[in-house]
């Protein structure tokens, strides 16, 4: 059985960064990717805006991925593409990773695992869309795959449900290809995507955004012929009497991303209900020893730059992992946050440069984030505004706060609500 130090599952931006960083930290590393090419979903993201934080440049998705693929090639990382992980089993001192590829079935032993499995899109049925089952109902990512990777036009006239970033990007992309985008409908009262995308993808192309609206029914026996949209109340329930039928040939959904952690679940990794990703410590290690998580599998990021960053950290800590007992402390947060990652700190590890990622629950202006340890404020930072679609990142040196096993760490927001 092949012996590895680190096995990275997933060759998207998180996995690429993790594999490079694991190699640089001296680990015998295996990167497993189910598709034929590395890069993950970046391959189909031909728009720009990637790498602003990391490279100070606006790159396209493939360009961004290329930088990492080039760097990976300089390492001695073993890369297996068109290879699928069918199962992982916990064994003494590591994991048995079961692989399937054109070469057959193989089992590899790995001391640690980095789960960089990304996320999947929520589907029409998961947002309770009813009616017939015609062709022409696509998630935005699927429509993007058809358009950008296969060069096929998936619609001539569509309605987009959900104002997630991929939906906004596809609104622009399809418009540029000559399709009519009737509008973007969002059940929430605020947009789900980045503000820059609302401007660059909708406003610049005169595509209307209808907030507090949803699609309540789909029509068409063969290809979709129309959708029914309705206004919704504050609990996102459709309001009877507000129905409107819109003729179109496609419904494109951008209604949320779900971190992919089915493999993690089979290993008994504890997931956070808030992030839908593993609960992790400051070293990106899940609550299962030796299993690290990063990128969109850990929590849905807004920018790929942060995905790479968490991948790098996960790869590094997986490479230098030596086992040993962790002393875990909760990083609590108030209800002002949708979530804070990491959810735990390991007192036995170096926490002098801990990256903390968070999203606020609501739109808040002029607020102050406060880090409280044992009831005492030890750190604060002012924000002019926080918006749930925009993830925030802080680096905190926890080593200077003299943490002990009974310490209580809590993050809260002092806000002047809008």
């Amino acid at each position: 059985m092949k012996q590895m130090d680190v096995t990275v599952i997933g060759g998207g931006p998180a996995g690429l960064a993790a594999a490079i960083s694991a190699c640089k930290n001296g680990a015998a590393t295996l990167l497993v990717e189910r598709e034929a090419r590395l890069g993950g979903i970046l391959k189909q993201c031909i728009h720009d805006g990637f790498g602003v934080v990391r490279f100070g440049e606006k790159l396209s998705g493939p360009e961004y991925a290329e930088r990492f693929i080039d760097e990976l090639e300089k390492t001695d990382c073993e890369v297996r593409t068109l290879t699928f992980v069918t199962a992982v089993k916990q064994r003494a001192g590591g994991f048995e990773v079961h692989l399937v590829s054109r070469d057959g079935v193989e089992t590899v032993f790995s001391k640690t695992l980095v789960l960089a499995t990304g996320c999947r899109e929520r589907t029409a049925k998961q947002v309770a869309i009813h009616g017939t089952r015609p062709a022409g109902v696509f998630t935005a990512g699927t429509a993007q795959h058809f358009t950008n990777l296969l060069g096929e036009l998936p619609t001539r006239k569509c309605v987009i449900l959900g104002s997630g970033d991929i939906g906004l990007i596809m609104a622009r992309r399809l418009t540029l290809e000559g399709a009519a985008v009737v509008g973007v409908y969002e059940a929430k009262s605020t947009p789900s995507g980045l503000t820059r995308n609302i401007h660059q993808c909708l406003h610049d192309y005169d595509i209307p955004l209808y907030l507090s609206h949803t699609v309540t029914r789909v029509f068409g026996e063969d290809r979709l012929t129309a959708v029914e949209v309705s206004q919704v109340d504050e609990h996102m329930r459709p309001l009877p009497g507000t129905e409107e039928i819109i003729d179109c040939d496609a419904l494109i959904l951008s209604v949320g991303l779900i971190p992919e952690n089915e493999l993690a679940e089979t290993l008994g990794v504890e997931l956070s209900p808030a992030t839908k990703g593993p609960v992790c410590d400051g070293q990106m290690m899940s609550m299962a020893d030796g299993i690290f998580s990063c990128g969109n599998a850990l929590h849905v990021n807004d920018l790929v730059d942060y995905v790479s960053e968490s991948g790098e950290a996960a790869g590094k800590y997986a490479a230098i992992y030596t086992g040993g007992q962790r002393q875990l402390l909760d990083v609590a947060c108030t209800n002002d946050f949708l979530y804070v990652v990491p959810q735990k700190l390991n007192l036995s590890a170096d926490n002098s440069e801990t990256a903390v990622y968070f999203r606020s629950r609501e739109i808040v202006n002029d607020c102050r984030l406060v880090l409280q340890i044992d009831g005492r404020e030890v750190f604060s930072k002012k924000y002019r505004f926080l918006r749930p679609p925009e993830m925030e990142k802080l680096t905190i040196d926890f080593s200077k706060y003299d943490l002990h096993p009974d310490s209580e760490i809590c993050l809260r927001l002092e806000v002047a609500r809008v």
Binding site: D103, G104, A135, F146
Partner: protein
Amino acid sequence: MNRIERINQKLKKRFGDAVRCEEREGCRYMTGTLASWQDVVAACEMAADKYSRVHVVNDIQCREATPRPPRLPSLRDQALEGDTPDVLIVGGGISGVSIARELSKWKLNILLVEKEADLALQASGRNDGEVHPGIDLGKGSLKHYYIRRANAMYGRVCEELDVPFRRVGQYVCFEKGYLKPLVGLYCAWRKYHDGIEDTRLISKKELRMREPNFSEDFRFAISNPSSGCVCPYGLTIAYAENAVMNGARVSLNTAVLAMEVQNGEIVSVQTNRGTVYPRLVINAAGVFADDLAAMAGDRFFSIHPRRGTNSILDTKAGHLMHSIASIKEISLQKTHSKGGGILHTVHDNLLVGPDAVETWEKEDTATRRQSIETVFAKQKKTMPRLSQGDIITYFTGVRAPTFEEDFIIEPGRKTKNIIHCAGIQSPGLTTAPAVALDIEQMALAFLRQQKPVEKNEAYNPKRKGIPVLREMSDEKRSELIRQNPDYGVIVCRCEEISKGEILDALRSPIVVPTVDGIKKRVRPGMGRCQGGFCSPLVASIIAEEMDIPLSQVRKSSAESVVTYGKIGG
């Protein structure tokens, strides 16, 4: 006062002079005008005697019901023009294909036509897949006559056809402890009368041991170990493939448009693919069985469509229970078909449903939020941990009952060369293997009047399904991948389906090169991402294998366009 007079008296009391019942030639003809479809159904039910062979024929005009004509394939060609099959089977559901397979034991020219783009696209592909034990069927009905025999056949049939089938057992759960002696007597009675040997009562403790997530409120349950589950469209496709292997022909996208009947005999059958001249027609047309009977000049029953919606839950919820459960609420309300339940499928999803809603629309398979809500509210009583959050998809099917709520399995009454397999609803999937054998005999009896029918010496009852690599041992999987490396390329990650399996489906006895056709045969797109990742890949594999542009690949029907051609084009 005779039966008809009494019926008319009841009708008059409820509907005034709006409707009337008249008995002619062994049928009860209903005439008049009513506003609502529910009233039409109620009136016809008043006139019907359960399980009777005297059928209600509904001619009541209904102001709210404006039935749409059947959806017909757009295809128009002459591929079948002049064809002279010995047997023309109309309908590619479980009934039609199982009859085709049994008849393929004989040297006969068998043609099965199905108007949809694939088999099992109507009720046979839109049900819960339960193989029923036959515990609650009225004695004297055809359903009752067939069910035990058919249930017992399932192991062998599924083995021959290489279709997964699991006898997972069914529990009918009761909340009221004082009913236990009564239900116990009922079970004993069933054993005595129906020969159901294995049905027994189990205690709350035993039920909780077997299914710990069922409601704590259940005091006891009837256990029916002979119940099982099967993939209903998988079984339908398998039967059809075996029939084709043995010489039968299946023509999809082929609808019967009209028939020429002379002297009580069908002379020709007009389809969108040409006129055929069969010796015998078998009516397995599901919700359209009454329309087909009318075309054949043999109208003696009516179908009243009844919609049912099922939800499929993520395999992650599959561990919650491992059998089939239904809750029994003792009520005086008259109910038909089963009240739905929860079923652990052969693919390890949970299936929840169905409900039962009368409709005049024979093909209204649109889903409605209300159905899901109703079904979950009810089934949560069985298993409180059941969550709508685990739903990955849902679908609606339309049942095809007669007003007598029984099957019609008999030769034509006025027309000589037709055999009806009609009124098929639950437990029609279960009974199909046994019904097919009887219809085979009826067909032979008819055909032999004209000339002898020889055995098909080459008949092989065994059909080999497409290998399921994810279920294999590492050694076997490796061996298959060595023979065909495409078996090692995973296309659908949710269900772990390889490119090799998809290509096998594209080279199977009945190739349906559509995204849905492949999904039904090897399951890419059946998982939690619902084809989000794999549908473009599956479409590309179809295009490559069939040597067509991607824009020619369809979801299902000829009009179900997936993409509109090259961008910038």
